[in-house]
Subunit: 253 residues, 2 copies
């Protein structure tokens, strides 16, 4: 399978390497930033290009791995290719690619950092395609890099993307606020790390609601009032404390 | 070292077993619920009691592992013991035990479930004691069950406890809300589990602020508006979405 990789960010880096490891040939890596195209191209033995007009028209699979707002422009430049063109965005409708003969979506539900390796075989992939032959090809391409394959339409994919904002972006913000709070009082974030791991580990096998602990679920108003008093000089944290404590109470009422 | 364990909940179960494994003798397990006292006592080869007057007066260490509001009553019944009496609460001042000659605090910063084993050696323990000899004894007792030992006063311990509410209880609530959202749309929480693990793993070596992703940090108002529209029939989630998105924007402004 010959692949063209359009984009060179975090997702592009991990997905291009996963395809390369599965035995695919990465023909080209495109980025409007030539240095970034070169950096990724060298990792996957591809040619770096920074002009969309130089894209190889004969590839089997085109991976669009750019930010959401840039997808329409990329799609425009791939209108005449025969291979399958997929974007990888959780929030973008498949119809954004409707001017392309064979098109689809390959959405990885995971957070990627360039610096951190990830086992792509355990990244859930959500597929959509315009027609059966496109889906058959996409399914086999996806199965070559991951064992967690699902088929969902654009509407459900948007819900998955939104749930990931809660379970990843918002969770990470709570980690950041915890760090602010600790450092504000001369304490170190390091001491929270085992708790953070255990909290995530616990819900791998338990239902989150059933393992909730802390003052809000106990209805321990005295401790909650103490906590709010401690947040007197951090009004933003106090607001989040109130909002999420109320949410816990409501979930368990 | 002879230990009396007062309480039989999640923390009591894990801490009593950790002391037992370190070579300590657990003399007694007290609980006002006899069946619970028996269940834990049988795990650590101790005698189960449900009457505070039966507590052995000659132990080296008394662990108070009951809910915060019950600590004063327990303390009252231990007034005349010579051994070290510690409570294990993040939110309770050391002075709650001031009527006892040798007293202190042994606060484990971790979330415990009875059903899930935990490596106690990696549970951070925060110590406080009334005087040097009490602290020396507490330090060596704590070092027998964990390699992560810190000394903090009651004020700092309260901040640690509060930070744990953000990084554990509130994070778990976000997991619960993600599950609600997915199931509301016929999707499964299982698909989020790899993302949840990776999000927690990432901050073991990176600063949370520096690995934030998603629409709020990108200032992607279009995606955020789409998300809020998707939450039209879940106003509680919409409020949390707004509050935490604003917090991310503020952190990164």
């Amino acid at each position: 399978m010959n692949v063209v990789c359009i984009g060179s960010g975090n997702v592009a880096t991990h997905m291009a390497q996963a395809f390369k490891s599965s035995g695919a040939v990465i023909l080209q890596v495109w980025s409007k930033h030539q240095a970034q195209a070169l950096a990724l191209a060298s990792k996957v033995a591809a040619t770096a290009i920074s002009d969309l007009e130089l894209i190889d028209q004969s590839a089997d699979l085109y991976l669009i791995l750019v930010k959401d707002s840039a997808i329409p422009e990329i799609a425009e430049s791939l209108k005449s290719v025969k291979g399958l063109v997929v974007h990888t965005s959780g929030a973008t409708d498949i119809r954004t690619l409707s001017s392309i003969r064979n098109h689809g979506v390959l959405y990885p539900l995971q957070t990627f950092s360039k610096a951190k390796a990830i086992d792509f075989a355990e990244v859930p992939l959500f597929l959509e395609a315009n027609g059966e032959s496109a889906m058959n090809f996409l399914r086999s391409a996806a199965a070559s890099i991951s064992s967690l394959i699902y088929e969902v339409d654009s509407e459900k994919r948007r819900i998955l993307h939104l749930s990931a904002v809660f379970a990843c972006n918002f969770v990470n913000q709570l980690y950041a606020l915890s760090q602010d709070l600790l450092e504000h009082h001369g304490l170190e974030f390091d001491t929270l790390k085992p708790l953070i791991m255990e909290t995530a580990l616990k819900v791998q096998s338990a239902v989150p609601k059933e393992v909730q602990t802390g003052p809000a679920i106990r209805g321990d108003e005295q401790t909650m009032n103490h906590h709010l008093a401690l947040l007197n000089d951090m009004p933003e944290l106090a607001e989040i404390y109130r909002t999420l404590s109320n949410s816990i109470k409501k979930t368990h009422s």
